[in-house]
C-alpha cells in the first residue's frame, strides 16, 4: 500500500508542492526512516488535506511536475528535522505555519479593509437622501393620508429613511440622547416602523439628520427596548402601519406627552391612548414646517410639541421653518372626543380616533392664511349651535330611552308618562334629517323632519320606521336654551 499509494495518485499533491518549494529539507526528516511515503503520523487522505485551513493562502500557481517531492527526495539523505511544530497536521505542514501566520495576518487585514469598505458603503448609503414620494409606491390602504401629506411640504421629522426606522426602539433612544431628539418624537415608537411607502416625502432638512447616529445609537436602544414595546402594545395591537405611534405622539398637545416623546422611559410610562389606526398619518408638523411664518413658540405646552419639530430648531433653518400656525391650529382645535372625530377615515371604516385627531390638526391648519384664527361667531350662530346641541340632547334622550335625559332639556315634559312610554319600547332611534331654526329673542322655534325607528317590547319585534315631523318651541333659560313644547306628528 505504501509504495503504491503515490503512484495511484497520478496527480501530484499540490499542497506539498507549494510547501516543498520553500523548504525541501523539511521533507527530509519526514522520510528519514526510509519510508518516504509513510510519515510518522499517518498521512491524512489527500482530499482531507486539501481542506485544511492553511490552504487559505496556498492558492499560488502549482509548480511544475518536476518539483514533485516524492520524486525529488528519493535520493536525498535522511536528516533530522530542525523544527517540529506538531499541530495535529501533517508534519510537512508544520514548517509552513510560520509563513502562514504572516499570510493570515495579511488576510485579516484585507478582510478588515473589506469590511471597512462595506461599512463605509453602508454608512454612505444611509447618508443618501430618502427616496422621494414619487419614487415610493402608493400606499394602498392609506391613500387619504398620503394625499394629505403630498399637499404639505416635506417634513424634517419624516426624513429618516424607512429602512433605518425599522426599529422603533432605536429611534426612541436617539431622541433621548441626540441633541436632535426633539425632532425624533414624531418618529418615536411605532410611527417609525413600517414600509417606506408609509413615510411621507422627506425634506432636505431631514437629509441633514445624521443617519449614522441613528445607527450608532441602535445598540444603545436595544438595551432597553421593553418600554417602547410596552408603549406600543396597548395602543395598537394590530398595527401594521408605522405612523400610528407618530400620530399618537402628535396628538398629545400636553406637556406630559411631549416629555414622553423625548424620553424613552417616559414613553414607556405613558398611558395607553385610544387605539391608533394603522394609517400612516403624517403629523401636522410638515405643514408647520412648510409655513414661512416666523418662529413660533414651539416649546409651548399648548403647541403640538410632539408633532412639531422643535428639535429641528437645533438647526437654525429648521427653527425658522416652524410656523406659528401649527400652534394656533392646535389651540383652536380642541382635543376631540372619540365620538367627535373630525372625519371618518375612508379606510378602514372603523378607524379609531387617533388618526382622526391627527387629521383634524392639519385640516385646521391648512387654511391658506398663515394664521387660522376663526372669527368670533355671531350671537345668532351661537344660539343656533346651542339649539342644535339641545336638539341633539333631546334626540339622544329618546334614543337612550331616558326620560330623565329628555327632561333635562325639556323640563315641562310629562316625565312620568314619557318613562312609561319608554318602558314599552325595546329600542328607539330618532334622527333628524333637517331642522329649521328660527330664533327670536328669548324664544325660538325649530321644525325638524326625520324618522323614528322603534322596536316594541310586546308584539311584532320588527323595527318600525315612521317619518316624523317635530315642532319645538324653545325658550332661553338662565343656563341656556330649553324646550318648552314639542309636537310630533
Amino acid at each position: 500500500m505504501n509504495s503504491e499509494t503515490p503512484k495511484k495518485n497520478a496527480e501530484p499533491d499540490p499542497v506539498r508542492l507549494v510547501e516543498a518549494s520553500e523548504g525541501l529539507h523539511e521533507f527530509v526528516a519526514e522520510f528519514a526512516d526510509g519510508s518516504p511515503l509513510t510519515p510518522r503520523e499517518s498521512r491524512k487522505p489527500r482530499a482531507q488535506r486539501v481542506q485544511e485551513p492553511l490552504l487559505l493562502w496556498s492558492d499560488a500557481p502549482l509548480p511544475s511536475v518536476e518539483a514533485d517531492p516524492d520524486l525529488a527526495l528519493r535520493d536525498q539523505p535522511a536528516a533530522t528535522p530542525d523544527v517540529k511544530l506538531g499541530v495535529g497536521l501533517d508534519e510537512r505542514w508544520d514548517v509552513s505555519i510560520p509563513l502562514g501566520w504572516v499570510r493570515l495576518a495579511g488576510g485579516v487585514a484585507l478582510g478588515a479593509l473589506v469590511l471597512s469598505v462595506i461599512a463605509a458603503g453602508i454608512v454612505m448609503l444611509r447618508r443618501s437622501p430618502a427616496p422621494s414620494l414619487a419614487d415610493l409606491p402608493a400606499p394602498a390602504a392609506h391613500t387619504d393620508v398620503a394625499r394629505l401629506d403630498t399637499s404639505t411640504p416635506p417634513a424634517p421629522v419624516l426624513a429618516l429613511p424607512t429602512p433605518r426606522t425599522a426599529e422603533p426602539d432605536r429611534v426612541a433612544t436617539v431622541d433621548r440622547r441626540s441633541p436632535q431628539g426633539a425632532l425624533m418624537p414624531a418618529f418615536a415608537g411605532p410611527g417609525s416602523v413600517g414600509p417606506a411607502s408609509d413615510v411621507p416625502r422627506p425634506s432636505q432638512q431631514a437629509v441633514r439628520t445624521p443617519p449614522a447616529k441613528v445607527a450608532e445609537k441602535g445598540p444603545a436602544t436595544k438595551q432597553s427596548p421593553a418600554p417602547v414595546v410596552a408603549w406600543l402594545r396597548p395602543e395598537a395591537p394590530t398595527r401594521t402601519a408605522p405612523a400610528a405611534g407618530t400620530n399618537q405622539s402628535a396628538a398629545r398637545p400636553t406637556p406630559g406627552a411631549q416629555a414622553s416623546t423625548t424620553s424613552g422611559p417616559s414613553v414607556a410610562a405613558a398611558p395607553p391612548r385610544a387605539p391608533s389606526a394603522p394609517a400612516p398619518v403624517a403629523p401636522p408638523a410638515p405643514r408647520a414646517a412648510a409655513s414661512p411664518a416666523p418662529a413660533a413658540p414651539v416649546a409651548s405646552p399648548a403647541s403640538v410639541a410632539p408633532v412639531t419639530p422643535p428639535a429641528v430648531g437645533a438647526a437654525p433653518v429648521a427653527a425658522a421653518d416652524v410656523p406659528p400656525r401649527a400652534t394656533v391650529a392646535t389651540a383652536a382645535v380642541p382635543e376631540p372626543s372619540p365620538s367627535a372625530a373630525v372625519a371618518p377615515p375612508p379606510t378602514p371604516p372603523a378607524a379609531p380616533a387617533g388618526p382622526n385627531r391627527l387629521r383634524a390638526l392639519p385640516r385646521a391648519a391648512s387654511a391658506e392664511s398663515p394664521v387660522a384664527v376663526a372669527p368670533a361667531p355671531s350671537k345668532r350662530e351661537v344660539d343656533t349651535h346651542a339649539i342644535e346641541a339641545l336638539l341633539g340632547r333631546y334626540r339622544n334622550g329618546y334614543n337612550s330611552l331616558s326620560a330623565s335625559s329628555v327632561s333635562a332639556v325639556w323640563p315641562t315634559v310629562d316625565e312620568k308618562n314619557l318613562a312609561k312610554a319608554f318602558e314599552r319600547i325595546e329600542d328607539q332611534h330618532v334622527s333628524f334629517d333637517s331642522c329649521e331654526i328660527e330664533i327670536g329673542g328669548v324664544a325660538a322655534e325649530a321644525a325638524c323632519r326625520g324618522t323614528a325607528r322603534y322596536v316594541p317590547k310586546v308584539g311584532n319585534r320588527t323595527p318600525r320606521d315612521e317619518a316624523r315631523r317635530w315642532r319645538f318651541n324653545l325658550r332661553r333659560a338662565s343656563d341656556g336654551w330649553v324646550i318648552d313644547r314639542v309636537v310630533a306628528q
Binding site: 319600547i425 316594541p456 317635530w470
Partner: protein, 397 residues
C-alpha cells in the same frame, strides 16, 4: 319559527275545515228538534188529552231550542289586537302602546285596533249542559208527564226524560281597523250539536224505558258581523259605539241558528288605568229569538306586559224566551187524578254568567286566550263550566 302572515289565515281555515268536517251532516238524520220533540212527548201515560200532551212537549222543545241557541250565540268576538298596537303620542313625541291590556273576552272595550291592524282568531268552546231552569237534565229526574192522585205528593205514574246535550263550537273571528277609530269584524261559528236522550216511565216504582233517541248536527251557525267606532279616546280609556248583526245562516231545525236576523246596537265605555282596566258595554237585541238586553262588565289586570288576567260578568235579560214549569191539570178521564206536564210560561228572566281567564302573548303577536264561564243563575240552559280557548294572531306593523 314565526309563520308568515299570509300563511296564518290559511292555517286558521285549515283547522277550521278539519275540525268542522268531523261531524256528520244533519240532513242524513231527523232534525234535532224532531228528536227532541219525540223524547219530550208523552207516550205511555194515559192523560186523556193527547193534544195537550203534544202542545206541552212542543213548548218544552221550543224552550230548549231557544235557550240552546242563546248559548251558541254567545261568542267571544272582541278583538285583542289593540294590545299590540303602538300609537304616536304627539305631546310626548314618542309612541305609546295603545293598551297594556289585551282586553276582555266577551265584553267590548272602547279602544279600537288601529288603522290597518288586522287580526284573526280561532276559538273552540265545548259545552255540556247539565240543567235547564234549575232542573237536572242528566239524572233522569226531569219530569215530562206525570199522574198524581189529588192530595198526594208523589205521582204514581211518571215519565221522566234524561238528556245529554253537548255543543262544540269552532269560531273564526276577524277584525280589521278601517281607520284609527273604526273597526269592523265578524265571527263565523261552526257548530256541532249532539243530543242523546231517554224517556222512561215509572209506574208505582217500576221503571220502564219508553224511548231513546239521539241526534247530532253540525254546520254553520249564525254569522256575526260587527262594527265599532271610537267616539272618545284618552289612552286606553274612551267611549265607543258598536253594532252587531246576526245573520240567520244556521239551521234552526238543527238548533244551529236562531232562524232570523237580529241587530244589536251597543254602547261601550272603558277606563284603562294602566294595570287595571274596567270595561262595560250595554246592548239591546232586536228581533232575535227574543228581544234581549245584554250587559257585560269586565275587569282586566295586567299581570305582566304579556299577560292579562280578566274577570267578567255577562248578563242577559230575556223578555220572551219563557221558563219551564210544570203545569198541573185535572185528568179529563180519571177522577181525582191530576196530570202534570212540563211546559213553559212567558216570563222575563235574567241570567248572569261569570267568566274568568287570561290572555297571554305567547310570542310575537300570537295570543292565547283561555277562560271558563260559569252561570251564576239557574235560568235557562246551563253548563256548569264552559271552557273556551282561543288563538289570536294580529297582523299589521
Amino acid at each position: 319559527m314565526h309563520p308568515r302572515p299570509h300563511r296564518v289565515p290559511t292555517l286558521f281555515l285549515a283547522l277550521f275545515a278539519v275540525l268542522g268536517g268531523t261531524a256528520r251532516p244533519a240532513s242524513a238524520q231527523q232534525t234535532m228538534t224532531d228528536v227532541l220533540g219525540f223524547l219530550l212527548t208523552n207516550r205511555s201515560i194515559p192523560t186523556g188529552d193527547f193534544v195537550r200532551d203534544e202542545q206541552a212537549a212542543a213548548q218544552t222543545r221550543d224552550v230548549f231550542a231557544r235557550l240552546l241557541t242563546l248559548q251558541l250565540a254567545t261568542l267571544p268576538v272582541a278583538s285583542s289586537s289593540a294590545g299590540f298596537t303602538y300609537r304616536l303620542d304627539p305631546a310626548l313625541g314618542t309612541v305609546m302602546r295603545t293598551s297594556d291590556s289585551f282586553g276582555p273576552f266577551f265584553t267590548e272595550r272602547s279602544i279600537t285596533a288601529g288603522r290597518n291592524q288586522a287580526s284573526l282568531g280561532l276559538g273552540y268552546r265545548s259545552s255540556t249542559f247539565d240543567n235547564i231552569d234549575g232542573r237536572d237534565l242528566r239524572d233522569g229526574t226531569l219530569v215530562s208527564t206525570a199522574s198524581v192522585l189529588r192530595g198526594e205528593a208523589q205521582p204514581f205514574d211518571i215519565e221522566t226524560v234524561a238528556l245529554r246535550i253537548r255543543t262544540d263550537t269552532m269560531t273564526l273571528t276577524a277584525n280589521y281597523g278601517v281607520t284609527d277609530r273604526l273597526d269592523i269584524g265578524g265571527a263565523i261559528p261552526f257548530v256541532r250539536v249532539s243530543l242523546q236522550g231517554e224517556r222512561a216511565d215509572t209506574y208505582r216504582g217500576s221503571r220502564l224505558v219508553q224511548a231513546t233517541g239521539s241526534a247530532s248536527a253540525s254546520g254553520l251557525g249564525d254569522i256575526v258581523m260587527r262594527a265599532k267606532y271610537n267616539v272618545f279616546r284618552d289612552g286606553g280609556s274612551g267611549v265607543s259605539i258598536g253594532a252587531e248583526a246576526r245573520l240567520p245562516t244556521g239551521k234552526p231545525e238543527d238548533l244551529l241558528g236562531a232562524g232570523r236576523a237580529s241587530f244589536t246596537p251597543r254602547f261601550i265605555g272603558s277606563y284603562d288605568g294602566g294595570r287595571v282596566g274596567v270595561h262595560g258595554d250595554l246592548g239591546y237585541s232586536f228581533r232575535d229569538i227574543t228581544d234581549a238586553l245584554g250587559y257585560n262588565a269586565a275587569v282586566t289586570v295586567v299581570a305582566v306586559s304579556r299577560l292579562t288576567l280578566i274577570g267578567e260578568l255577562s248578563g242577559l235579560r230575556l223578555g220572551g224566551v219563557g221558563r219551564l214549569t210544570e203545569i198541573s191539570q185535572p185528568s179529563p178521564q180519571l177522577a181525582g187524578v191530576d196530570t202534570i206536564r212540563l211546559a213553559s210560561v212567558a216570563q222575563t228572566t235574567n241570567r248572569l254568567d261569570a267568566v274568568a281567564g287570561f290572555k297571554w302573548n305567547i310570542g310575537e303577536t300570537w295570543l292565547l286566550t283561555a277562560n271558563v264561564r260559569r252561570p251564576l243563575t239557574d235560568v235557562g240552559l246551563n253548563a256548569d263550566w264552559v271552557p273556551t280557548i282561543t288563538f289570536d294572531y294580529a297582523f299589521g306593523r
